[in-house]
């Protein structure tokens, strides 16, 4: 029973975390058809931004809001630096963006290491307790407020993004730009601004993720690489561009890793092996991921 609960808690919390980060990849991919490899870095930047603000004595909620705004601006800057100079291009054939997003990410992490510092830091919790409740122990497994906040926020954000993409004009415009940028501009959509807006949104999402994750993962330089890669796998596994896919992909990876670890003490070493095997198996069967839509050829 305890084992089952432990797997469940681990899957739901880690899965939500991965899904949140995967959503960032999705957002940008769905409008630009590019994978922003600086997504993990945005998480790191946002974390250090929040840390720098709390160090200055700002309360965490204010630092959180400012970080969301600041990180949105960082997102736009990344677009401006890594994507815009490439000019108009077809992401499928011109792969310069792979280099530029990677580079910007790597440079940014090094800059943080030099300008702020390279040490991990803790952030204050967004909420210490709700109605005096902080944590419960179920069948020997602790469930904390942080866990609940992560899961609830992740689900809420995914719901909001799904609504934004499918139910609002802005969301439709996002998808139109993704499909055919020229024609989207003929509809009166400012495509440049739309692309920037998705980067801003991805940045804001990274900030939410960074602050939510801080109690569990802290703010540290490695988060970008490590979490970024796992979340990227989650996004691809679920189907790049699909919000539901990000959630399912994130949870699939979290479940796999929790189960692998539960098998035996030594099995933890084989975790990446199992995850990558799963990843490959899914992609062989469904090359577009679990929820990915096959690209409809233009007639």
């Amino acid at each position: 029973m305890g084992k089952f609960i432990q797997i469940l808690v681990s899957t739901v919390t880690v899965g939500s975390v991965l899904a949140l980060v995967a959503l960032g990849y999705n957002l940008v991919f769905s409008t630009t058809r590019i994978v922003n490899f600086a997504q993990g870095t945005m998480l790191v930047i946002a974390g250090y931004m929040a840390y720098a603000m709390t160090r200055q004595g700002l309360p965490i909620w204010l630092a959180f809001i400012l970080t969301v705004i600041g990180s949105a601006i960082i997102g736009m800057l990344i677009e401006l630096i890594a994507i815009r100079p490439l000019g108009r291009f077809d992401p499928a054939t011109n792969v310069g963006w792979i280099l530029t997003t990677f580079s910007v990410g790597l440079i940014a992490v090094d800059v943080i290491g030099i300008v702020i510092d390279a040490q991990p830091h803790a952030l204050p919790n967004l909420a210490g307790s709700v109605f005096g409740w902080k944590a419960s122990i179920v069948a020997g497994v602790p469930i904390t407020l942080t866990d609940i906040i992560i899961v609830v926020s992740a689900v809420l954000l995914m719901f909001l993004i799904e609504v934004l993409q499918n139910r609002t004009m802005a969301g439709r415009a996002f998808r139109a730009v993704a499909q055919d940028r020229q024609t989207a501009s003929l509809m009166g959509i400012n495509t440049t601004r739309t692309v920037m807006a998705t980067f801003a949104l991805a940045g804001a999402l990274a900030a939410v993720g960074a602050v939510l994750l801080a109690p569990k993962l802290f703010v540290k330089l490695e988060n970008g690489d490590l979490l970024g890669i796992q979340a990227f796998i989650a996004a691809v596994l679920g189907g790049l561009g699909s919000t539901r896919g990000a959630v399912v992909g994130g949870f699939a990876i979290a479940l796999t890793s929790a189960v692998v670890k539960t098998v035996s003490a030594g099995a933890g070493r084989y975790e990446p092996l199992v995850i990558f095997a799963l990843f490959l198996a899914v992609l062989v069967v469904r090359p577009t991921g679990i929820f990915g839509t096959p690209y409809v050829e233009k007639v």
């Binding site: 432990q6 919390t13 280099l99 790597l106 803790a122 802290f218 933890g268």
Partner: protein
């Protein structure tokens, strides 16, 4: 080639560079932690050195001390002066600059000035052979290899070939057998190691757990990414067995992880009385927090042995030696988490000469760790002095017959059959403490050393290591009677009394 192609090529080249840097950063991390696994190196680096970065003003000048070049004794210094290991480089700079200033101000070496030739290996291990060749071509008499990248299988044969005197500083070669006259396939006779050996460190920690705490069971949780070969596990098992401790569980986690519940569940089932953690500070803090939410935090010795699970965290590896995990873990970090340390790195003893030199010549404050490169420098110069020559083989012989010398910190020395400066007696246990508000309230009250009181070393820092005097006192006294007298007189370190009947003073009950 069109300008577009050229631009693309340039971009590609830059990316290659960045990817290379990234890959080696990981490798550096892996290598660094491996060096520290089950041992001291990363504790030293992680703890006092990270603290060093936070506090120290860096006035690094790249390490090359200007001076007369005609009649000088040149000594090479290899360290990461840039990149992720830069914090090490800045300590090295502070140390060697202060030491060289002191040496040259007091007549140099036999009337010749000492000159440092510093080479930055950054984070790239492949820089090792390049750095080595460059130093050889500049005619150095010996090299201080300070936790620099490149002290690896591609550089070691070169060192062996030339018989170049090399003092390994902060590097934990992980095995005495690799040092002369060990039987390993190590670098050969000309390499000497100043810092400590992983197995020694783990043995001290195990002895502390078994003898001082009276624990019978022990478990390990370590990072399977950083110690992918399981070297730390081997040392852990061997030293636990030697101390008569039963290993109840060995678990792994991965660097990128945030959830340790499954593993801790399994460990909890066996209720080991102490838990060794091997990993970086973020993961260490994560594990300690997870213990906190499971209400399994360590409180004191009796509870660690009680029926519910409250393991005492005893550090062997980097995670527990790095004070930053305490800040990260917040209230879940409990007083009583211990790590093995080397005595010369002891809380940056204000009495060490290097402290004064740094202040006098560099107008800088030492932050712990500076004594080691300076002592390495002195070792090579002592070898030269002894040999009356700068010929490599003779310098090596000189070092082997130097006896004990005292330069920047405590007295130390090498012999022909002992190429490592420290013995088990040179190791101390340190306890990680909470700063600001001081230690947690315990019953009976726990007394901290004077380093925590107003105006002393750790007053301003959030957390820092305190020397736990008693567990290793006898051994330390054997190795360094004067230093231990001074420490006890100065009221440094936690003070415990051992009564005639063998019982401990009240204050010793905690920890």
């Amino acid at each position: 080639m069109t300008p577009e192609q050229e631009a693309l090529e340039a971009k590609q080249a830059r990316l290659d560079e960045l990817v290379a840097a990234e890959v080696t950063r990981r490798r550096f991390l892996e290598w660094a932690t491996k060096a520290g696994m089950g041992g001291i190196a990363l504790s030293t680096v992680g703890g006092s050195f990270l603290a060093a970065c936070a506090k120290g003003s860096s006035k690094a000048n790249g390490g090359t001390t200007p001076g007369p070049t005609g009649d000088t004794v040149k000594i090479g210094v290899v360290a990461p002066f840039s990149g992720v290991g830069k914090f090490i480089g800045s300590v090295v700079n502070r140390s060697t600059n202060a030491a060289v200033s002191q040496l040259n101000a007091t007549g140099g070496i036999g009337g010749r000035k000492v000159q440092i030739i510093a080479i930055d290996t950054g984070t790239d291990p492949t820089n090792g052979p390049k750095a080595y060749d460059s130093l050889v071509s500049q005619g150095v008499v010996g090299i201080l290899w300070c936790f620099g990248s490149g002290f690896n299988p591609s550089t070691l044969p070169l060192i062996k070939r030339d018989g170049m005197p090399v003092i390994s500083v902060f590097n934990d070669l992980d095995s005495t057998s690799k040092l002369y006259p060990g039987t390993g396939d190590g670098p050969g006779r000309s390499v000497f190691q100043l810092s400590d050996n992983g197995e020694q460190a783990s043995a001290v920690a195990m002895e502390y757990a078994a003898n001082d705490r009276g624990y019978r069971t022990v478990a390990l949780i370590y990072d399977a990414v950083l110690d992918s070969q399981g070297d730390g596990v081997k040392i852990f098992k061997k030293t636990a067995a030697a101390a008569g401790l039963t290993v109840t569980g060995i678990e792994t986690f991965r660097l990128e992880e945030s959830a340790y519940g499954v593993q801790l569940d399994r460990l909890a089932a066996q209720k080991p009385q102490c838990l060794f953690i091997g990993g970086l500070s973020g993961n260490t803090a994560g594990i300690v927090k997870e213990l906190g939410t499971r209400k399994a935090s360590y409180i004191d010795t009796p509870t660690a042995k009680g029926s519910s699970w409250h393991p005492q965290i005893i550090g062997s590896a980097g995670g527990t030696g790095d004070k930053s995990w305490i800040e990260l873990a917040g209230a879940d970090a409990k007083v009583g988490t211990n790590t093995v340390w080397h005595i010369s790195g002891l809380i940056g003893n204000p009495g060490f000469p290097i402290t004064e030199w740094a202040k006098k010549y560099q107008h800088e404050t030492v932050t712990g760790g500076e004594e080691v490169p300076a002592d390495g420098l002195a070792t090579i110069l002592e070898g030269v002095k002894k040999a009356g020559s700068t010929e490599h083989a003779k310098v090596v012989e000189g070092i082997e017959t130097m006896g004990k010398i005292k330069f920047a910190s405590i007295d130390f020395g090498f012999t022909k059959d002992r190429h490592i400066a420290h013995t088990k007696d040179d190791l101390v246990m340190i306890t990680m403490e909470r700063g600001g508000t001081g230690p947690v309230t315990t019953d009976p009250p726990y007394k901290l050393g004077v380093e925590w009181s107003s105006g002393h070393i750790f007053e301003s820092t959030a957390a820092g290591p305190t020397h736990l005097v008693r567990p290793t006192l006898d051994g330390n006294k054997r190795a360094h009677p004067e230093l231990m007298d001074e420490i006890l007189r100065g009221n440094y370190g936690t003070q415990c009394t051992k009564h005639a009947d063998g019982t401990l003073g009240k204050e010793c009950k905690i920890h």
